[in-house]
Symmetry: C2
Subunit: 120 residues, 2 copies
DNA sequence: TAGGGAACTGACTTCAAAGTAAGTATGGGA
DNA sequence: TCCCATACTTACTTTGAAGTCAGTTCCCTA
């Protein structure tokens, strides 16, 4: 069940690796929230209103398997599970930051640049 | 307390913007080649062996519409079309570089990290 | 006139990622 | 006793990005 095909060995370019790691539909947002603080499953659910439990669990599991995110179980009455960036995951922070800066600027320039390119 | 209204089209987080721009299946590779030099359509085809003409054309068109790539037509006997990063596209280079560095390191650490995380 | 190379475009299919809905285990409180 | 909350899992359906393959235009050479 853990048998996954070797995605990395076939990549020609390491940029694809990053996209594979952060490129799920909800992963950027998950990482964005975990950059600031440790969060519970339910807290992430609230912060990311449109994500389903299934997708949240699945993406968190993938990030955990990739060593980006750490999962901590507190055995309490209602179960309490906390997610945080692992030390390795923190090495992604500058990358995410530079992506974020560019993205923010791109959005500021008009979001969909195709509007500006219509004239051609 | 989280601003969740779509401040940009549909993106909640600017990281998604970057992924939207570079995240097509072939876009990282296309950009990777264009970072070095201007290239013709056919040259890209040769450098990216598995891409189809349709997907190459489609992704190039998208990058052009987003203002990342410049398309130059030389009206010659067999048509000659050259693609290069636009000035705006060059602002992506540091971002791509940092993604690339991280990705390369991630691959070097064992490619599929899940092998190291199997203890769960 | 026939064929060729470059650079596409369009109709259709495919398949994995994402979504929907429901189910599970735990124990504490009403 | 039953219900509630948390943190999931499983089975099934839908969506959309990507792939296949064939067609098109342009002018040139043979």
């Amino acid at each position: 069940m853990e048998a996954r095909k070797p995605f990395v060995s076939e990549e020609q370019c390491p940029i694809e690796t990053v996209i594979h790691v952060v490129g799920g539909k909800w992963k950027p947002t998950i990482l964005w929230h975990l950059m600031d603080s440790t969060m519970r499953f339910s807290a992430l659910e609230k912060r990311i209103p449109d994500v389903t439990q299934k997708m949240l669990a699945q993406h968190l599991r993938e990030l955990e398997n990739q060593g980006i995110v750490t999962r901590t179980i507190h055995p309490s009455v209602p179960p309490k599970v906390e997610y945080s960036l692992s030390e390795y995951g923190r090495t992604l922070v500058p990358v995410l930051q530079s992506m974020c800066d560019w993205g923010r600027n791109h959005n500021r320039l008009g979001g969909d640049m195709s509007v500006r390119q219509m004239q051609s």
